[in-house]
Symmetry: C2
Protein backbone atom coordinates (compact mmCIF):
# COMPACT_ATOMS: atom_id res chain seq x y z
CA UNK A 1 0.00 0.00 0.00
CA UNK A 2 1.05 3.55 -0.72
CA UNK A 3 1.54 5.71 2.35
CA UNK A 4 -1.11 8.23 1.21
CA UNK A 5 -4.87 8.30 1.77
CA UNK A 6 -6.51 5.66 -0.44
CA UNK A 7 -8.77 6.85 -3.25
CA UNK A 8 -11.83 5.27 -4.85
CA UNK A 9 -9.54 4.15 -7.66
CA UNK A 10 -7.39 2.25 -5.13
CA UNK A 11 -10.51 0.55 -3.79
CA UNK A 12 -11.57 -0.47 -7.31
CA UNK A 13 -8.15 -1.97 -7.98
CA UNK A 14 -8.05 -3.79 -4.64
CA UNK A 15 -11.57 -5.18 -5.16
CA UNK A 16 -10.97 -6.03 -8.81
CA UNK A 17 -14.08 -4.17 -9.96
CA UNK A 18 -14.79 -1.14 -12.14
CA UNK A 19 -14.59 2.35 -10.64
CA UNK A 20 -18.29 2.82 -11.41
CA UNK A 21 -19.15 -0.15 -9.21
CA UNK A 22 -17.24 1.38 -6.29
CA UNK A 23 -19.02 4.66 -6.85
CA UNK A 24 -22.39 2.92 -6.83
CA UNK A 25 -21.64 1.08 -3.60
CA UNK A 26 -20.44 4.26 -1.90
CA UNK A 27 -23.50 6.14 -3.12
CA UNK A 28 -25.81 3.50 -1.68
CA UNK A 29 -27.10 2.57 -5.13
CA UNK A 30 -28.09 -1.00 -5.98
CA UNK A 31 -25.34 -3.35 -7.22
CA UNK A 32 -25.08 -7.13 -7.04
CA UNK A 33 -24.63 -8.35 -3.47
CA UNK A 34 -21.34 -10.07 -4.46
CA UNK A 35 -19.88 -6.79 -5.73
CA UNK A 36 -21.04 -4.85 -2.71
CA UNK A 37 -19.25 -7.27 -0.39
CA UNK A 38 -16.06 -7.16 -2.53
CA UNK A 39 -15.99 -3.36 -2.51
CA UNK A 40 -16.79 -3.05 1.18
CA UNK A 41 -14.09 -5.55 2.12
CA UNK A 42 -11.51 -3.84 -0.10
CA UNK A 43 -12.42 -0.45 1.40
CA UNK A 44 -12.02 -1.92 4.88
CA UNK A 45 -8.62 -3.42 4.08
CA UNK A 46 -7.39 -0.10 2.70
CA UNK A 47 -8.89 1.93 5.51
CA UNK A 48 -10.92 3.95 2.99
CA UNK A 49 -13.43 6.24 4.67
CA UNK A 50 -16.66 6.78 2.82
CA UNK A 51 -17.69 10.37 3.27
CA UNK A 52 -21.06 11.25 1.95
CA UNK A 53 -20.69 14.97 2.37
CA UNK A 54 -17.30 15.24 0.70
CA UNK A 55 -18.83 13.22 -2.13
CA UNK A 56 -21.77 15.57 -2.33
CA UNK A 57 -19.39 18.51 -2.66
CA UNK A 58 -17.82 16.84 -5.67
CA UNK A 59 -20.85 15.63 -7.61
CA UNK A 60 -23.40 18.26 -6.64
CA UNK A 61 -26.02 15.51 -6.83
CA UNK A 62 -27.96 14.19 -3.86
CA UNK A 63 -29.94 11.43 -5.63
CA UNK A 64 -32.84 12.56 -3.46
CA UNK A 65 -36.09 13.85 -4.93
CA UNK A 66 -38.70 15.55 -2.79
CA UNK A 67 -42.29 14.50 -3.40
CA UNK A 68 -45.01 16.80 -2.08
CA UNK A 69 -48.44 15.23 -1.60
CA UNK A 70 -51.42 16.52 0.37
CA UNK A 71 -51.61 13.15 2.16
CA UNK A 72 -51.19 9.45 1.54
CA UNK A 73 -54.27 8.40 3.49
CA UNK A 74 -56.36 8.86 0.35
CA UNK A 75 -55.88 5.82 -1.91
CA UNK A 76 -55.17 7.84 -5.07
CA UNK A 77 -52.31 9.69 -3.40
CA UNK A 78 -51.09 6.43 -1.82
CA UNK A 79 -50.93 4.75 -5.23
CA UNK A 80 -49.18 7.81 -6.66
CA UNK A 81 -46.59 7.73 -3.83
CA UNK A 82 -46.03 4.03 -4.38
CA UNK A 83 -45.46 4.42 -8.13
CA UNK A 84 -43.32 7.55 -7.72
CA UNK A 85 -41.10 5.72 -5.23
CA UNK A 86 -40.73 2.71 -7.53
CA UNK A 87 -40.02 4.89 -10.59
CA UNK A 88 -37.41 6.91 -8.67
CA UNK A 89 -35.73 3.76 -7.33
CA UNK A 90 -35.55 2.35 -10.86
CA UNK A 91 -33.70 5.54 -11.81
CA UNK A 92 -31.46 5.12 -8.74
CA UNK A 93 -33.01 8.01 -6.85
CA UNK A 94 -34.67 8.12 -3.47
CA UNK A 95 -37.93 9.74 -2.45
CA UNK A 96 -38.16 12.28 0.35
CA UNK A 97 -41.89 12.32 0.99
CA UNK A 98 -43.56 15.46 2.29
CA UNK A 99 -47.09 15.04 3.47
CA UNK A 100 -48.26 18.62 3.66
CA UNK A 101 -52.01 18.39 4.25
CA UNK A 102 -52.07 21.24 1.68
CA UNK A 103 -50.33 23.47 4.23
CA UNK A 104 -48.67 26.37 2.36
CA UNK A 105 -45.75 26.56 4.84
CA UNK A 106 -44.91 22.89 4.40
CA UNK A 107 -45.11 23.26 0.62
CA UNK A 108 -42.81 26.30 0.67
CA UNK A 109 -40.33 24.59 2.99
CA UNK A 110 -39.98 21.89 0.41
CA UNK A 111 -39.13 24.33 -2.34
CA UNK A 112 -36.58 25.91 0.02
CA UNK A 113 -34.91 22.51 0.33
CA UNK A 114 -34.31 22.34 -3.41
CA UNK A 115 -32.91 25.83 -3.49
CA UNK A 116 -30.47 24.76 -0.77
CA UNK A 117 -29.33 21.79 -2.81
CA UNK A 118 -30.65 19.22 -0.36
CA UNK A 119 -32.61 17.47 -3.09
CA UNK A 120 -32.12 17.34 -6.84
CA UNK A 121 -35.70 18.31 -7.62
CA UNK A 122 -39.33 18.27 -6.57
CA UNK A 123 -42.43 16.49 -7.82
CA UNK A 124 -45.43 18.17 -6.29
CA UNK A 125 -49.16 17.92 -6.11
CA UNK A 126 -49.73 21.27 -4.45
CA UNK A 127 -52.67 23.52 -3.76
CA UNK A 128 -50.95 26.78 -2.96
CA UNK A 129 -49.11 29.35 -5.05
CA UNK A 130 -45.37 28.63 -4.91
CA UNK A 131 -42.51 30.92 -5.86
CA UNK A 132 -41.00 28.94 -8.68
CA UNK A 133 -38.80 29.75 -11.62
CA UNK A 134 -37.51 27.86 -14.63
CA UNK A 135 -34.22 27.17 -12.86
CA UNK A 136 -35.78 25.01 -10.19
CA UNK A 137 -36.22 21.36 -11.20
CA UNK A 138 -39.92 21.02 -10.45
CA UNK A 139 -42.64 18.86 -12.01
CA UNK A 140 -46.21 19.49 -11.02
CA UNK A 141 -48.99 16.93 -10.96
CA UNK A 142 -52.59 17.96 -11.74
CA UNK A 143 -51.92 21.69 -11.57
CA UNK A 144 -50.30 24.09 -14.06
CA UNK A 145 -48.00 26.40 -12.10
CA UNK A 146 -46.57 28.29 -15.06
CA UNK A 147 -45.28 27.82 -18.59
CA UNK A 148 -41.80 26.78 -17.37
CA UNK A 149 -43.01 24.15 -14.93
CA UNK A 150 -44.02 20.92 -16.63
CA UNK A 151 -47.37 19.61 -15.44
CA UNK A 152 -48.45 15.98 -15.72
CA UNK A 153 -52.12 15.07 -15.47
CA UNK A 154 -54.60 12.51 -16.62
CA UNK A 155 -56.68 13.55 -19.62
CA UNK A 156 -59.32 14.98 -17.32
CA UNK A 157 -61.27 16.65 -20.12
CA UNK A 158 -61.35 13.46 -22.17
CA UNK A 159 -62.36 11.50 -19.07
CA UNK A 160 -65.32 13.78 -18.42
CA UNK A 161 -66.43 13.46 -22.03
CA UNK A 162 -65.97 9.68 -21.82
CA UNK A 163 -68.23 9.54 -18.74
CA UNK A 164 -71.01 11.46 -20.50
CA UNK A 165 -70.77 9.38 -23.66
CA UNK A 166 -70.78 6.15 -21.66
CA UNK A 167 -73.92 7.17 -19.74
CA UNK A 168 -75.63 8.18 -23.00
CA UNK A 169 -74.58 4.90 -24.62
CA UNK A 170 -76.05 3.05 -21.62
CA UNK A 171 -79.42 4.69 -22.28
CA UNK A 172 -79.41 7.72 -19.95
CA UNK A 173 -81.47 10.68 -21.12
CA UNK A 174 -81.02 13.24 -18.34
CA UNK A 175 -77.63 13.68 -16.70
CA UNK A 176 -76.00 15.45 -13.76
CA UNK A 177 -72.45 16.40 -12.87
CA UNK A 178 -71.49 16.63 -9.18
CA UNK A 179 -68.20 17.94 -7.95
CA UNK A 180 -66.28 18.50 -4.71
CA UNK A 181 -62.66 19.54 -4.33
CA UNK A 182 -60.22 22.33 -3.70
CA UNK A 183 -61.17 25.89 -4.60
CA UNK A 184 -57.73 26.32 -6.25
CA UNK A 185 -57.80 25.97 -10.02
CA UNK A 186 -56.60 22.55 -11.10
CA UNK A 187 -56.45 20.35 -14.15
CA UNK A 188 -59.12 18.20 -12.51
CA UNK A 189 -61.66 21.01 -13.12
CA UNK A 190 -61.68 19.92 -16.74
CA UNK A 191 -63.59 16.76 -15.80
CA UNK A 192 -66.79 18.77 -15.59
CA UNK A 193 -65.97 20.78 -18.70
CA UNK A 194 -65.51 17.65 -20.82
CA UNK A 195 -68.72 16.22 -19.42
CA UNK A 196 -70.77 19.35 -20.16
CA UNK A 197 -69.38 19.71 -23.68
CA UNK A 198 -70.30 16.10 -24.49
CA UNK A 199 -73.84 16.60 -23.11
CA UNK A 200 -74.24 19.65 -25.35
CA UNK A 201 -72.80 17.89 -28.38
CA UNK A 202 -75.34 15.09 -27.89
CA UNK A 203 -78.21 17.45 -27.02
CA UNK A 204 -78.71 15.76 -23.67
CA UNK A 205 -80.11 17.90 -20.84
CA UNK A 206 -77.93 18.06 -17.73
CA UNK A 207 -77.60 19.76 -14.39
CA UNK A 208 -74.44 20.50 -12.43
CA UNK A 209 -73.59 21.19 -8.79
CA UNK A 210 -70.03 22.11 -7.93
CA UNK A 211 -68.98 22.44 -4.28
CA UNK A 212 -65.60 23.44 -2.87
CA UNK A 213 -64.09 21.67 0.13
CA UNK A 214 -65.65 23.11 3.24
CA UNK A 215 -68.99 23.93 1.61
CA UNK A 216 -72.08 22.32 3.08
CA UNK A 217 -72.34 18.75 1.82
CA UNK A 218 -76.09 18.77 2.48
CA UNK A 219 -76.50 20.81 -0.71
CA UNK A 220 -76.10 17.55 -2.62
CA UNK A 221 -78.98 16.06 -0.66
CA UNK A 222 -81.08 19.17 -1.39
CA UNK A 223 -80.15 18.83 -5.08
CA UNK A 224 -81.53 15.28 -5.13
CA UNK A 225 -84.66 16.26 -3.26
CA UNK A 226 -85.34 18.97 -5.85
CA UNK A 227 -84.98 16.35 -8.54
CA UNK A 228 -87.42 13.89 -6.94
CA UNK A 229 -90.84 13.81 -8.60
CA UNK A 230 -93.56 11.34 -7.54
CA UNK A 231 -91.01 9.27 -5.57
CA UNK A 232 -88.65 8.99 -8.54
CA UNK A 233 -85.47 10.81 -9.50
CA UNK A 234 -85.84 12.75 -12.77
CA UNK A 235 -82.12 12.16 -13.49
CA UNK A 236 -80.97 8.77 -14.78
CA UNK A 237 -77.22 9.26 -15.06
CA UNK A 238 -74.71 10.95 -12.70
CA UNK A 239 -71.04 11.69 -13.17
CA UNK A 240 -69.16 12.45 -9.93
CA UNK A 241 -65.79 14.21 -10.01
CA UNK A 242 -64.22 11.52 -7.80
CA UNK A 243 -64.91 7.93 -6.72
CA UNK A 244 -65.12 9.13 -3.12
CA UNK A 245 -67.94 11.51 -4.03
CA UNK A 246 -69.66 8.72 -6.00
CA UNK A 247 -69.44 6.54 -2.88
CA UNK A 248 -71.05 9.23 -0.75
CA UNK A 249 -73.69 10.02 -3.36
CA UNK A 250 -74.58 6.33 -3.49
CA UNK A 251 -75.22 6.42 0.26
CA UNK A 252 -77.46 9.48 -0.11
CA UNK A 253 -79.42 7.89 -2.94
CA UNK A 254 -79.92 4.69 -0.92
CA UNK A 255 -81.49 6.78 1.88
CA UNK A 256 -83.86 8.35 -0.66
CA UNK A 257 -84.86 4.88 -1.88
CA UNK A 258 -83.22 5.40 -5.28
CA UNK A 259 -81.60 2.24 -6.67
CA UNK A 260 -78.19 2.19 -8.38
CA UNK A 261 -77.87 1.23 -11.26
CA UNK A 262 -81.58 0.35 -11.79
CA UNK A 263 -82.98 3.89 -11.30
CA UNK A 264 -79.85 5.92 -11.85
CA UNK A 265 -76.44 5.02 -13.22
CA UNK A 266 -73.34 6.42 -11.57
CA UNK A 267 -69.79 6.98 -12.84
CA UNK A 268 -66.93 8.22 -10.66
CA UNK A 269 -63.37 9.28 -11.46
CA UNK A 270 -60.01 7.91 -10.23
CA UNK A 271 -60.29 4.12 -10.36
CA UNK A 272 -59.89 3.55 -6.61
CA UNK A 273 -59.90 -0.07 -5.50
CA UNK A 274 -60.93 -1.37 -2.08
CA UNK A 275 -57.88 -2.04 0.12
CA UNK A 276 -55.82 -0.54 -2.71
CA UNK A 277 -56.04 -3.62 -4.93
CA UNK A 278 -59.43 -5.32 -4.60
CA UNK A 279 -62.72 -4.46 -6.34
CA UNK A 280 -63.56 -1.01 -7.69
CA UNK A 281 -65.99 1.07 -5.63
CA UNK A 282 -68.03 2.09 -8.64
CA UNK A 283 -68.01 2.32 -12.41
CA UNK A 284 -65.29 4.85 -13.03
CA UNK A 285 -62.86 6.70 -15.27
CA UNK A 286 -59.52 5.16 -14.32
CA UNK A 287 -56.49 7.43 -13.92
CA UNK A 288 -53.23 6.05 -15.35
CA UNK A 289 -51.55 6.42 -11.95
CA UNK A 290 -48.40 4.44 -12.69
CA UNK A 291 -47.90 6.24 -16.01
CA UNK A 292 -48.47 9.61 -14.29
CA UNK A 293 -45.71 8.79 -11.80
CA UNK A 294 -43.29 7.51 -14.41
CA UNK A 295 -43.84 10.51 -16.68
CA UNK A 296 -43.29 12.95 -13.81
CA UNK A 297 -40.01 11.21 -12.90
CA UNK A 298 -38.85 11.13 -16.54
CA UNK A 299 -39.55 14.84 -16.95
CA UNK A 300 -37.77 15.73 -13.71
CA UNK A 301 -34.64 13.67 -14.36
CA UNK A 302 -34.35 14.45 -18.09
CA UNK A 303 -30.83 15.61 -18.97
CA UNK A 304 -32.17 18.50 -21.02
CA UNK A 305 -35.14 20.08 -19.34
CA UNK A 306 -35.30 23.10 -21.66
CA UNK A 307 -37.77 21.49 -24.05
CA UNK A 308 -40.09 20.03 -21.43
CA UNK A 309 -43.76 20.36 -22.44
CA UNK A 310 -45.88 22.64 -20.26
CA UNK A 311 -48.67 20.08 -19.95
CA UNK A 312 -48.71 16.33 -20.56
CA UNK A 313 -52.14 14.67 -20.54
CA UNK A 314 -52.21 10.89 -20.24
CA UNK A 315 -55.08 8.74 -21.52
CA UNK A 316 -57.73 7.48 -19.11
CA UNK A 317 -60.01 4.46 -19.48
CA UNK A 318 -63.51 3.42 -18.45
CA UNK A 319 -64.04 0.48 -16.09
CA UNK A 320 -67.45 -0.84 -15.06
CA UNK A 321 -67.75 -1.33 -11.30
CA UNK A 322 -71.35 -2.20 -10.56
CA UNK A 323 -72.95 1.26 -10.59
CA UNK A 324 -73.81 1.21 -14.30
CA UNK A 325 -75.76 -1.31 -16.38
CA UNK A 326 -72.41 -2.41 -17.84
CA UNK B 1 -18.60 44.49 5.25
CA UNK B 2 -15.43 42.69 6.24
CA UNK B 3 -13.35 41.48 3.33
CA UNK B 4 -13.56 37.82 4.48
CA UNK B 5 -16.11 35.14 3.69
CA UNK B 6 -19.27 35.88 5.68
CA UNK B 7 -20.27 33.43 8.41
CA UNK B 8 -23.69 32.42 9.73
CA UNK B 9 -23.02 34.80 12.62
CA UNK B 10 -22.63 37.66 10.14
CA UNK B 11 -25.93 36.71 8.53
CA UNK B 12 -27.66 36.65 11.93
CA UNK B 13 -26.33 40.12 12.74
CA UNK B 14 -27.25 41.52 9.32
CA UNK B 15 -30.77 40.05 9.56
CA UNK B 16 -31.22 41.05 13.19
CA UNK B 17 -32.24 37.55 14.23
CA UNK B 18 -30.80 34.86 16.50
CA UNK B 19 -28.10 32.54 15.20
CA UNK B 20 -30.47 29.59 15.76
CA UNK B 21 -32.97 31.13 13.37
CA UNK B 22 -30.34 31.40 10.65
CA UNK B 23 -29.34 27.79 11.26
CA UNK B 24 -32.96 26.69 10.95
CA UNK B 25 -33.47 28.54 7.68
CA UNK B 26 -30.26 27.12 6.22
CA UNK B 27 -31.22 23.62 7.34
CA UNK B 28 -34.59 23.91 5.65
CA UNK B 29 -36.40 23.65 8.97
CA UNK B 30 -39.67 25.48 9.57
CA UNK B 31 -39.47 29.08 10.84
CA UNK B 32 -41.90 31.96 10.50
CA UNK B 33 -42.15 33.20 6.91
CA UNK B 34 -41.09 36.72 8.03
CA UNK B 35 -37.87 35.37 9.55
CA UNK B 36 -37.11 33.21 6.56
CA UNK B 37 -37.33 36.21 4.24
CA UNK B 38 -35.15 38.33 6.58
CA UNK B 39 -32.45 35.67 6.73
CA UNK B 40 -32.50 34.94 3.02
CA UNK B 41 -32.27 38.62 2.13
CA UNK B 42 -29.40 39.17 4.58
CA UNK B 43 -27.58 36.12 3.18
CA UNK B 44 -28.05 37.48 -0.33
CA UNK B 45 -26.74 40.93 0.63
CA UNK B 46 -23.64 39.40 2.23
CA UNK B 47 -23.12 36.89 -0.57
CA UNK B 48 -23.32 34.03 1.92
CA UNK B 49 -23.36 30.64 0.20
CA UNK B 50 -25.40 27.97 1.92
CA UNK B 51 -23.59 24.72 1.53
CA UNK B 52 -25.44 21.71 2.69
CA UNK B 53 -22.54 19.33 2.42
CA UNK B 54 -20.08 21.47 4.33
CA UNK B 55 -22.76 21.78 7.00
CA UNK B 56 -23.22 18.01 7.05
CA UNK B 57 -19.50 17.57 7.65
CA UNK B 58 -19.77 19.79 10.71
CA UNK B 59 -22.91 18.49 12.38
CA UNK B 60 -22.83 14.83 11.32
CA UNK B 61 -26.63 14.98 11.22
CA UNK B 62 -28.70 14.69 8.08
CA UNK B 63 -32.16 15.24 9.60
CA UNK B 64 -33.30 12.48 7.23
CA UNK B 65 -34.84 9.25 8.50
CA UNK B 66 -35.37 6.29 6.20
CA UNK B 67 -38.72 4.53 6.49
CA UNK B 68 -38.96 1.03 5.02
CA UNK B 69 -42.46 -0.20 4.21
CA UNK B 70 -43.55 -3.13 2.05
CA UNK B 71 -45.89 -0.78 0.15
CA UNK B 72 -48.19 2.14 0.67
CA UNK B 73 -50.96 0.84 -1.56
CA UNK B 74 -52.39 -1.07 1.43
CA UNK B 75 -54.34 1.37 3.60
CA UNK B 76 -52.69 0.31 6.89
CA UNK B 77 -49.23 1.04 5.52
CA UNK B 78 -50.47 4.26 3.92
CA UNK B 79 -51.80 5.47 7.28
CA UNK B 80 -48.55 4.45 8.95
CA UNK B 81 -46.52 6.40 6.34
CA UNK B 82 -48.73 9.43 6.81
CA UNK B 83 -48.37 9.41 10.62
CA UNK B 84 -44.61 8.67 10.48
CA UNK B 85 -44.10 11.61 8.12
CA UNK B 86 -46.10 13.94 10.35
CA UNK B 87 -44.33 12.77 13.52
CA UNK B 88 -40.91 13.20 11.88
CA UNK B 89 -41.78 16.68 10.60
CA UNK B 90 -42.92 17.70 14.08
CA UNK B 91 -39.46 16.65 15.27
CA UNK B 92 -37.87 18.62 12.39
CA UNK B 93 -36.84 15.52 10.45
CA UNK B 94 -37.68 14.41 6.94
CA UNK B 95 -38.82 11.03 5.73
CA UNK B 96 -36.99 9.12 2.99
CA UNK B 97 -39.58 6.52 2.06
CA UNK B 98 -38.48 3.14 0.74
CA UNK B 99 -41.22 1.03 -0.73
CA UNK B 100 -39.55 -2.36 -0.89
CA UNK B 101 -42.34 -4.79 -1.79
CA UNK B 102 -40.62 -6.95 0.86
CA UNK B 103 -37.62 -7.25 -1.48
CA UNK B 104 -34.58 -8.25 0.61
CA UNK B 105 -32.14 -6.30 -1.62
CA UNK B 106 -34.11 -3.10 -1.24
CA UNK B 107 -34.29 -3.63 2.52
CA UNK B 108 -30.53 -4.21 2.74
CA UNK B 109 -29.76 -1.18 0.59
CA UNK B 110 -31.58 0.92 3.12
CA UNK B 111 -29.48 -0.35 5.99
CA UNK B 112 -26.37 0.36 3.87
CA UNK B 113 -27.50 3.98 3.61
CA UNK B 114 -27.50 4.39 7.35
CA UNK B 115 -24.08 2.87 7.67
CA UNK B 116 -22.87 5.42 5.12
CA UNK B 117 -24.29 8.26 7.17
CA UNK B 118 -26.84 9.28 4.54
CA UNK B 119 -29.68 9.09 7.04
CA UNK B 120 -29.74 9.41 10.82
CA UNK B 121 -31.69 6.22 11.34
CA UNK B 122 -34.23 3.76 10.00
CA UNK B 123 -37.79 2.86 10.94
CA UNK B 124 -38.64 -0.37 9.23
CA UNK B 125 -41.47 -2.79 8.74
CA UNK B 126 -39.40 -5.54 7.16
CA UNK B 127 -39.90 -9.18 6.30
CA UNK B 128 -36.32 -10.31 5.73
CA UNK B 129 -33.41 -10.94 8.07
CA UNK B 130 -31.20 -7.83 8.19
CA UNK B 131 -27.64 -7.53 9.44
CA UNK B 132 -28.17 -5.14 12.30
CA UNK B 133 -26.26 -4.30 15.43
CA UNK B 134 -26.87 -2.16 18.46
CA UNK B 135 -24.88 0.72 16.95
CA UNK B 136 -27.30 1.26 14.09
CA UNK B 137 -30.23 3.55 14.95
CA UNK B 138 -33.07 1.26 13.90
CA UNK B 139 -36.62 0.89 15.18
CA UNK B 140 -38.67 -2.03 13.93
CA UNK B 141 -42.44 -2.12 13.56
CA UNK B 142 -44.35 -5.39 14.08
CA UNK B 143 -41.27 -7.61 14.08
CA UNK B 144 -38.66 -8.29 16.77
CA UNK B 145 -35.25 -8.27 15.07
CA UNK B 146 -33.13 -8.74 18.18
CA UNK B 147 -32.82 -7.63 21.80
CA UNK B 148 -30.95 -4.43 20.84
CA UNK B 149 -33.45 -3.30 18.21
CA UNK B 150 -36.56 -1.71 19.72
CA UNK B 151 -39.77 -3.06 18.23
CA UNK B 152 -43.09 -1.21 18.30
CA UNK B 153 -46.31 -3.11 17.73
CA UNK B 154 -49.98 -3.04 18.61
CA UNK B 155 -50.99 -5.33 21.46
CA UNK B 156 -51.70 -8.12 18.99
CA UNK B 157 -52.14 -10.76 21.67
CA UNK B 158 -54.58 -8.59 23.62
CA UNK B 159 -56.41 -7.78 20.39
CA UNK B 160 -56.90 -11.46 19.57
CA UNK B 161 -58.21 -12.09 23.07
CA UNK B 162 -60.49 -9.07 22.77
CA UNK B 163 -61.95 -10.43 19.52
CA UNK B 164 -62.76 -13.81 21.11
CA UNK B 165 -64.27 -12.24 24.20
CA UNK B 166 -66.37 -9.86 22.10
CA UNK B 167 -67.75 -12.70 19.96
CA UNK B 168 -68.54 -14.73 23.10
CA UNK B 169 -70.20 -11.69 24.70
CA UNK B 170 -72.30 -11.28 21.53
CA UNK B 171 -73.63 -14.84 21.95
CA UNK B 172 -71.32 -16.93 19.75
CA UNK B 173 -70.83 -20.52 20.86
CA UNK B 174 -68.50 -21.96 18.21
CA UNK B 175 -65.63 -19.89 16.85
CA UNK B 176 -63.01 -19.92 14.12
CA UNK B 177 -59.73 -18.12 13.55
CA UNK B 178 -58.60 -17.48 9.97
CA UNK B 179 -55.23 -16.09 9.05
CA UNK B 180 -53.19 -15.06 5.99
CA UNK B 181 -49.86 -13.30 5.96
CA UNK B 182 -46.12 -13.58 5.62
CA UNK B 183 -44.40 -16.84 6.54
CA UNK B 184 -41.77 -14.82 8.47
CA UNK B 185 -42.39 -14.74 12.23
CA UNK B 186 -44.00 -11.46 13.27
CA UNK B 187 -45.66 -9.87 16.25
CA UNK B 188 -48.92 -10.14 14.33
CA UNK B 189 -48.84 -13.94 14.82
CA UNK B 190 -49.90 -13.28 18.40
CA UNK B 191 -53.39 -12.30 17.19
CA UNK B 192 -54.26 -15.96 16.80
CA UNK B 193 -52.52 -16.94 20.03
CA UNK B 194 -54.53 -14.47 22.08
CA UNK B 195 -57.72 -15.60 20.37
CA UNK B 196 -57.07 -19.29 21.05
CA UNK B 197 -56.11 -18.71 24.68
CA UNK B 198 -59.35 -16.79 25.29
CA UNK B 199 -61.43 -19.56 23.66
CA UNK B 200 -59.76 -22.09 25.95
CA UNK B 201 -60.20 -19.93 29.03
CA UNK B 202 -63.94 -19.65 28.24
CA UNK B 203 -64.28 -23.30 27.22
CA UNK B 204 -65.53 -22.33 23.78
CA UNK B 205 -64.82 -24.77 20.92
CA UNK B 206 -62.90 -23.26 18.02
CA UNK B 207 -61.20 -24.14 14.75
CA UNK B 208 -58.27 -22.41 13.09
CA UNK B 209 -56.89 -22.20 9.56
CA UNK B 210 -53.64 -20.35 9.00
CA UNK B 211 -52.36 -19.74 5.48
CA UNK B 212 -49.14 -18.08 4.39
CA UNK B 213 -49.02 -15.66 1.45
CA UNK B 214 -48.88 -17.68 -1.73
CA UNK B 215 -50.85 -20.64 -0.35
CA UNK B 216 -54.05 -21.58 -2.13
CA UNK B 217 -56.82 -19.25 -1.02
CA UNK B 218 -59.45 -21.85 -1.96
CA UNK B 219 -58.57 -23.68 1.25
CA UNK B 220 -60.71 -21.13 3.07
CA UNK B 221 -63.65 -22.00 0.84
CA UNK B 222 -63.04 -25.72 1.50
CA UNK B 223 -62.90 -24.93 5.22
CA UNK B 224 -66.36 -23.34 5.08
CA UNK B 225 -67.78 -26.16 2.99
CA UNK B 226 -66.58 -28.67 5.61
CA UNK B 227 -68.37 -26.63 8.25
CA UNK B 228 -71.68 -26.51 6.37
CA UNK B 229 -74.32 -28.89 7.72
CA UNK B 230 -77.89 -28.95 6.36
CA UNK B 231 -77.34 -25.63 4.55
CA UNK B 232 -76.10 -23.90 7.70
CA UNK B 233 -72.65 -23.02 8.97
CA UNK B 234 -71.83 -24.78 12.25
CA UNK B 235 -69.65 -21.80 13.25
CA UNK B 236 -71.27 -18.60 14.51
CA UNK B 237 -68.27 -16.35 15.10
CA UNK B 238 -65.13 -15.76 13.02
CA UNK B 239 -62.02 -13.76 13.81
CA UNK B 240 -59.89 -12.87 10.76
CA UNK B 241 -56.26 -11.81 11.16
CA UNK B 242 -56.84 -8.71 9.00
CA UNK B 243 -59.71 -6.57 7.75
CA UNK B 244 -58.75 -7.46 4.18
CA UNK B 245 -59.19 -11.16 4.94
CA UNK B 246 -62.51 -10.42 6.67
CA UNK B 247 -63.63 -8.60 3.50
CA UNK B 248 -62.73 -11.58 1.34
CA UNK B 249 -64.28 -14.05 3.76
CA UNK B 250 -67.49 -12.03 3.69
CA UNK B 251 -67.57 -12.42 -0.10
CA UNK B 252 -67.09 -16.20 0.19
CA UNK B 253 -69.83 -16.50 2.81
CA UNK B 254 -72.24 -14.48 0.65
CA UNK B 255 -71.68 -16.97 -2.18
CA UNK B 256 -72.50 -19.84 0.20
CA UNK B 257 -75.72 -18.07 1.22
CA UNK B 258 -74.46 -17.44 4.76
CA UNK B 259 -75.61 -14.08 6.15
CA UNK B 260 -73.35 -11.73 8.14
CA UNK B 261 -74.03 -10.92 10.98
CA UNK B 262 -77.32 -12.88 11.20
CA UNK B 263 -75.83 -16.38 10.73
CA UNK B 264 -72.23 -15.69 11.58
CA UNK B 265 -70.53 -12.70 13.20
CA UNK B 266 -67.20 -11.50 11.86
CA UNK B 267 -64.37 -9.48 13.42
CA UNK B 268 -61.28 -8.32 11.52
CA UNK B 269 -58.08 -6.63 12.65
CA UNK B 270 -56.52 -3.26 11.64
CA UNK B 271 -59.36 -0.75 11.63
CA UNK B 272 -59.17 0.07 7.90
CA UNK B 273 -61.61 2.71 6.69
CA UNK B 274 -62.96 3.03 3.14
CA UNK B 275 -61.06 5.71 1.19
CA UNK B 276 -58.78 5.97 4.21
CA UNK B 277 -61.25 7.95 6.31
CA UNK B 278 -64.84 6.83 5.64
CA UNK B 279 -66.72 3.86 7.14
CA UNK B 280 -65.04 0.74 8.54
CA UNK B 281 -65.17 -2.36 6.34
CA UNK B 282 -66.17 -4.62 9.22
CA UNK B 283 -66.29 -4.89 12.99
CA UNK B 284 -62.65 -4.83 13.90
CA UNK B 285 -59.82 -4.55 16.39
CA UNK B 286 -58.41 -1.09 15.68
CA UNK B 287 -54.64 -0.60 15.58
CA UNK B 288 -53.37 2.61 17.24
CA UNK B 289 -51.63 3.63 13.99
CA UNK B 290 -50.82 7.22 14.93
CA UNK B 291 -49.49 6.16 18.32
CA UNK B 292 -47.40 3.40 16.67
CA UNK B 293 -45.80 5.98 14.39
CA UNK B 294 -45.17 8.50 17.15
CA UNK B 295 -43.66 5.88 19.46
CA UNK B 296 -41.34 4.61 16.72
CA UNK B 297 -40.13 8.17 16.02
CA UNK B 298 -39.66 8.90 19.74
CA UNK B 299 -37.60 5.73 20.22
CA UNK B 300 -35.45 6.45 17.16
CA UNK B 301 -34.69 10.06 17.99
CA UNK B 302 -34.24 9.57 21.75
CA UNK B 303 -31.00 11.15 22.96
CA UNK B 304 -30.11 8.07 24.97
CA UNK B 305 -31.02 4.92 23.10
CA UNK B 306 -29.21 2.56 25.50
CA UNK B 307 -32.26 1.93 27.64
CA UNK B 308 -34.75 1.48 24.79
CA UNK B 309 -37.23 -1.32 25.52
CA UNK B 310 -36.98 -4.38 23.24
CA UNK B 311 -40.74 -4.45 22.63
CA UNK B 312 -43.41 -1.82 23.13
CA UNK B 313 -47.03 -3.00 22.77
CA UNK B 314 -49.68 -0.33 22.34
CA UNK B 315 -53.32 -0.81 23.31
CA UNK B 316 -55.91 -1.67 20.67
CA UNK B 317 -59.67 -1.11 20.75
CA UNK B 318 -62.81 -2.76 19.41
CA UNK B 319 -65.03 -0.93 16.92
CA UNK B 320 -68.33 -2.31 15.58
CA UNK B 321 -68.57 -2.04 11.78
CA UNK B 322 -71.69 -3.91 10.72
CA UNK B 323 -70.44 -7.51 10.74
CA UNK B 324 -71.37 -8.17 14.37
CA UNK B 325 -74.70 -7.78 16.19
CA UNK B 326 -73.15 -4.71 17.84
Amino acid sequence: MKGTTPTMKDVAQEAGVALGTVSKVFNGLPVGERYRVKVEEAAKRLGYQVNQYARGLRSGKTYNVAVILPGVDHPFFAALAQHLCAALMRREHRMLLYVTASNPDAERECVGMVRQNKVDGVIGLTYNPLELDGELPFVSIDRCLGPDIPCVAADNYGGGRMAAEKLIELGCTRLAFLRTGSASPSETDKRGDGFEMACRAHNIPYDALRLNDGEDFRRFRAFFQEHMAAGRLDIDGIFCSTDLLAWRVRGMLAKLGVRVPEDVQLIGFDGIRRFGAEELYCSTIVQPTQKLAETAVDLLLAKDRSNAPALVCLPVSYAPGGTTRE
